[in-house]
Amino acid sequence: MSFDILCRQRTLYFLVKWSLAVCIALNLGACSRDAEPVHQEQILVFGTLVDITLWGVNDDKAQQATAAVISTLNKLHHRWHAWEPGPLTEINARLARGETVTLDPDQVEVIRGARELSRQSGDLFNPAIGRLIGLWGFHSDDRPSTIPPPAPQAIQQLVAQHPTMEDLHLDGNKLRSDNPALQFDFGAYVKSYGVDRAIDQLRRHGVANAIVNAGGDLRAIGSRGDRPWRIGIRDPRGPGILASVEIRGDESVFTSGDYERFFVYQGKRYHHIIDPRSGYPPDGAMSATVIYPGGGVGGGASTALMVAGPKDWLKVVRGMHLKQAMLVAADRKVYLTPVLAKRIHFEVDPPPTVIIGQP
């Protein structure tokens, strides 16, 4: 081999190796930058912190889709607010006067949906007890702890009037009520409705992989690229994570807890979920979580489970046809349906005592 050829081969060898190194570097860069196009935005809307996570869309599309969701949630917030003057307080006032109210199609949809869930839950989810919620002072974003709980007689009086969704007469879009004590407060059910409308809005914008989390209640669609979405479920005591689930496809995860809105008066905790039977916050459970395909059931189911507590939670599971439910009881024992027990992963050490309930 002549000296000349040897030289050229070496140069070639050098070139190949260096280009390889450069390629590897570029690939590494490309992997980390382009394979995870995640957009996340947190906004204060809908009376809570809404966290929108999108995967696999470009910046422009992400911004348009997010803006559309914010606008939708803003409108719903006003439309369904239980105490700020608006369409719902107007309906409440007119029903209380015994008038017949003409509803818009979306109002018919929400009232019908809530009535069905109320029936299935045996009235443990009862969106007709707005007066009771108001009496407890939870018709305020920021109830001070210095105000004592209401007088027992006042609570008794409202419980005795026993307003339920069965007091309603809905004929087409005409609504009236037999019970002047009926006052709507859709609570967490409006949150599920809002999250579902937000997901509709995202899909209309061509987003296939997303999570919409409204103050802790969420629905996830698609996946995060080649791995599922990972959802952490908060520990009802302390700021950490109790358990996690992975979601691929389209599922909602809704939790109600005694730590979300509460006040402590003379050492006792009073939270915002009221048992319609007693008029007091139930104390059997610290949190209740439901997971279900698609949207719809959400807030109504988790509220009913909180009210039912460990004694009656399976009745609610059966009545509302829930496949996946978890109840963290006041003694920290965790009650699970078999389907959820199979997929949930506890993130606390040691893991809690688990009781599997057969629906």
Binding site: W18, I24, S145, P239
Partner: protein, 122 residues
Amino acid sequence: MMKLTRADWLVLIAAIALLPGLYAHYWGEQGPATTVRISASGQQDITLPLSGERRVKVHGPLGDSVIEIHAGRVRFVSSPCRGKQCVHSGWLSHSGELAACLPNGIMVSVLGRERQFDSINF
């Protein structure tokens, strides 16, 4: 098959030596291992290391919330809300933990080396 010369070895070693650097640069977490993210409505998120001592005033619709970082932990010291649930949340130190003052639109969350969860249900 050509024999590797000293120069070839040099190139190979240099390329291999570069790899950890590249990995750290592109895949590794930027900055310290654990960080705090403070989100306030209508404002850019603030990301701070969970080490050292620091007090941050964050302005919200009700006024200023004070957040303290101390010895690898973070908490709400005070907030102009009436319920004070954010202050009752106490110290946060583990990845994924969060505390929020909803009336004042401020959320504090601890982020780990790797984002463990895409979203938190509560």
